[in-house]
């Protein structure tokens, strides 16, 4: 348990991805089965402790300490699990080497009934040290909050075993805690576990960004050209009467899109873009689609308001036949047959764009017919379907980003390589009448500039600080004095979380406009014009 609680604490406080990977790698190397597998399940959200309800925690601590002392403690610490873990009266057992393992803990709590859960949990807390108690209480309350995605955990597994992450994604859904056969394979002691799972996920093929230079030497006739839709990449897999919808990382998102899953009357695996709207005429914006994302379940009302469909562009399996080594032209033909048999409100084909020259296409990608199109995709007609991001066969050629001139308002200190620098910037645009303009924040960016530019902005921040809030500084931002940042971004959504009412997608600093007086920066109305209607 001690290794797991130490891992949680370090993960919580390590902001950098590489740092998290190093910690996980070390943990997987040093921790025996089944603990490392149980930890993996806990970190990827695969643990369920149904008998233990968070409400019993407060009752347990109040049996053990004065209510007023507990109240003072909770006020100071601010987090229930942490307060209880720290204030739990010592029994002396926690210092012994014989403290329960993570596997023991999860085993005991997993089988606890509601009636005996308080006694079991109380006994466990008696036998653990403070970090161990914290870890257990966070497992019980179901929120580890260590800033770790399932994808990152899989990447760490791949690094640990010296395999490609797509190999892990491919078999992931057939595995269950404590993942003994997975670790046996990664330790080099057994073969790769076979994927016995119905409707499995197949690692997806990704495109590289293109520029005109990349394309000058190749012939447009060798390529299939499609619009690049601003939805989310999905894979629909169906076999043995079971259908699953996956994100491109292999997360199962079937429950959020039941109407699509139910309409999948085929056997095989297809690749496409998940969108909302009523095809073929109406395609909703990404912000409409967002209403449907990250949900465990979905109401009928929401399904009616934002109906989902898949715009299909590839076929990996047709029935049991693996088409991935067949050329795209052949896969596309078979895809047309499959899609033609299904409900056109749920499945349609990604249309081909006819193109005579790359110059003509350059014009199209920059001025697409619909706002939900964010550029074009180019795929070699003879390319097989290769997992990962192979160089050459597929390109994405995106619309040039939108840019606005905004004014730097707040700067926050960075971490790691950027310790000691103000490197995260919040910027705003003007609103209000011309006589009395005010800045309203529209976004935050922390990359897009060189190290030299970072030093220059940092100097500006230090010399123009007007207020400090912990690690954040407010800087002078007035019509006649301030720093104008040219910000590039992919689009704008409405947002109720920001005062400006808009949120930028993928903002980054594209240029520093030392030459421009803040008064000449853009106004909110200009930004709002980019909102989807």
């Amino acid at each position: 348990m001690r290794a797991f609680s130490a891992l949680l604490d370090r993960l919580t406080l390590t902001p950098a991805r590489n740092g998290k990977l190093a910690l996980l790698d070390r943990y997987f190397r040093e921790t025996p089965d089944p603990d490392r597998g149980v930890a993996l399940a806990a970190l990827t959200g695969g643990l369920d402790l149904p008998g233990v309800k968070p409400a019993i925690i407060r009752a347990l601590i109040l049996e053990r300490m004065d209510a007023e002392l507990f109240a003072h403690s909770y006020d100071f610490v601010g987090d229930l699990a942490e307060t209880v873990s720290l204030a739990w009266p010592p029994t002396g057992h926690g210092e012994e080497a014989e403290s329960p393992t993570l596997g023991d803990v999860v085993g005991m709590l997993g089988t606890a009934s509601r009636a005996d859960a308080p006694a079991i949990l109380g006994d466990l807390l008696d036998r653990l040290d403070a970090p161990g108690r914290y870890a257990v209480l966070k497992l019980v309350t179901g929120g580890l909050r260590v800033g770790l995605s399932a994808r990152l955990a899989k990447t760490a597994l791949a690094r640990f075993g010296g395999v490609d992450v797509v190999e892990i994604e491919e078999i992931w859904h057939g595995l269950a805690p404590p993942y003994a056969e997975l670790f046996a394979w990664l330790d080099g002691k057994a073969d790769k576990p076979a994927n016995m799972f119905a409707a499995p996920f197949r690692p997806v093929m990704l495109a590289n960004p293109a520029a005109m230079d990349d394309l000058e030497t190749v012939d447009p006739a060798d390529y299939l050209v499609e619009w690049k839709w601003d939805g989310i990449r999905v894979q629909l897999s169906s076999s043995g009467g079971l259908t699953r919808l996956y994100s491109r990382r292999g997360d199962d998102i079937s429950a959020a899109f039941p109407e699509v899953v139910e309409a999948a009357l085929f056997d095989g695996t297809l690749d496409g873009e998940l969108l909302v709207g009523t095809p073929p005429d109406h395609v909703g914006s990404f912000s409409d689609l967002q209403q449907r994302l990250n949900r465990k379940t979905v109401s009928v009302k929401l399904q009616q308001k934002f109906p989902a469909f898949i715009r299909c562009y590839d076929l990996l399996f047709d029935g049991g036949a693996d088409l991935r080594d067949r050329p795209l032209a052949e896969r596309r033909q078979r895809l047309e047959t499959v899609v033609g048999r299904m409900d056109p409100c749920r499945f349609d084909l990604s249309p081909q764009v006819e193109v005579e020259s790359w110059q003509a296409l350059d014009g199209l990608r920059n001025d697409p017919p619909l706002p939900v199109i964010e550029g074009v995709m180019l795929k070699r007609l003879d390319s097989p379907y290769l997992a990962g991001r192979p160089k050459g066969p597929w390109f994405k050629w995106k619309r040039d980003p939108h840019v606005v001139d905004a004014v730097l308002m707040y700067a926050q200190r960075g971490h790691g390589k950027r310790s000691g620098y103000y490197s995260d910037y919040t910027f705003g645009v003007w609103t209000g009448d011309a006589e009395n303009p005010a800045l309203v924040p529209v976004g935050k960016a922390y990359f897009g500039f060189t190290d030299e530019e970072l030093r220059a902005i940092d100097r500006f921040v230090r010399e123009n600080t007007v207020e400090r809030f912990g690690p954040v500084r407010a800087v002078r931002a007035e019509p006649g004095h301030g720093l104008v940042l040219e910000v590039a971004f992919e689009g704008i959504n409405r947002s109720t979380r920001h005062k400006s009412g808009v949120a930028m997608r993928f903002p980054r600093i594209s240029r520093l406009r030392w030459d421009k007086p803040p008064a000449e920066a853009d106004r909110l109305e200009t930004v709002e014009k980019l909102l989807p209607e």
Partner: protein
């Protein structure tokens, strides 16, 4: 006599009317008794100062030899009489030279403990229990959530991280008097013999600790003109205030560590951008505070700087009269 006739708070600090002196005054006064050298307890500009030899040396290092008009060394456990009031200094275990002050007059014994801790510290003399009628205790960590773990485990976390993140500079924040030297000594005891790099602000106090017998091993200034790589995988100690400024930029991908009792609370660590919190404190934790109150046998406890309410409540639950004593000017963050 009533205890409050012997000692009571004034804006300048704790005052003794019959002896006409202050203990740890925060403003210049004619006669000051100083428990230890931390800047919120020891200030320059007093008329006469009575303190342990080490505390006087530390004040001279920090403020210059002329910080007071006159100074007098208080020998441990040797009473000094001031206008009929007997004062005696006993080790407090907080930092080198730190003392509790027993003030005794007409049969009334009050101990002003200053800051203290009970656990072993290789760089200073251990706390001595002084029986008394009134015990004046600090309450920096006066909540049941504060139980400081074993120092050695915390040092182990640091040395282990050095092997996991061998390419990163481990930048350890520590208060410059006491904490820094204790950490270095503990790191040496854990077997780490490599040079440790220190911020310029630590140099003179580290030299002084060495001169008083704390073997700190090879220390090098964390100042060179070139090459970030020099510090990769090294231990660098500095005051936390330096970490947000340009000083920290010379290090390769620094991993910020912070040694303080506050690191027990995760949110504190997170807010300060600390990646590796080390719970090492020079103050008593909750079990030490409550044990010490019992050990002194005091019938009355005055609780000062920190979370007074909880400790007053604990005294109440245990049948000991207790009252918060509001003395302004002590900074709890310097830990």
């Amino acid at each position: 006599m009533r205890a409050s006739d012997l000692l009571h708070p004034r804006p300048e600090g704790l005052y003794c009317p019959p002896g006409d002196f202050h203990i740890d005054p925060v403003r210049p006064v004619a006669r000051a008794l100083v428990t230890h050298g931390h800047a919120d307890h020891a200030r320059p500009g007093h008329g006469a100062v009575l303190a342990t030899a080490e505390t006087l040396d530390i004040m001279a290092i920090r403020f210059g030899g002329d910080h007071a008009a006159s100074t007098q060394v208080a020998e441990p456990a040797r009473p000094v009489v001031i206008d009929g009031v007997e004062v005696t200094f006993f080790p407090a275990g907080h930092v080198l030279g730190s003392a509790q002050i027993l003030v005794e007059h007409k049969g009334m014994r009050i101990v002003a403990s200053g800051d203290y801790k009970r656990r072993a510290d290789p760089t200073c003399a251990p706390f001595e229990v002084v029986p008394c009628d009134v015990f004046i205790t600090e309450a920096t960590f006066g909540l049941p959530v504060f139980t400081h773990p074993d120092d050695r485990g915390e040092i182990g976390k640091l040395l282990r991280s050095l092997t996991t993140f061998g390419e990163r500079t481990h930048l350890v924040g520590a208060y410059s008097l006491g904490k820094a030297q204790r950490l270095i000594r503990l790191i040496r005891e854990a077997g780490h013999a490599e040079p440790i790099y220190i911020h310029g602000a630590f140099a003179r106090l580290c030299d002084y600790y060495e001169s008083r017998g704390a073997a700190l091993g090879p220390l090098l200034p964390a100042t060179t003109d070139d090459a970030r790589a020099d510090f990769a995988g090294r231990l660098v100690l500095g005051p936390p205030s330096a970490f947000s400024g340009p000083w920290s930029r010379r290090f390769s991908d620094p991993l910020v560590c912070y040694a303080s009792g506050w690191m027990r609370i995760r949110q504190r660590a997170r807010q300060q951008g600390v990646e590796l919190p080390m719970i090492v404190s020079d103050h008593a934790d909750w079990p030490e505070l409550t044990r010490t109150i019992r050990d002194t046998g005091a019938g009355e406890v005055w609780v000062t700087h920190g979370r007074e309410e909880a400790l007053v409540r604990w005294c109440g639950l245990n049948g000991i009269a207790a009252t918060p004593l509001n003395i302004v000017g002590y900074e709890e963050e310097n830990e």
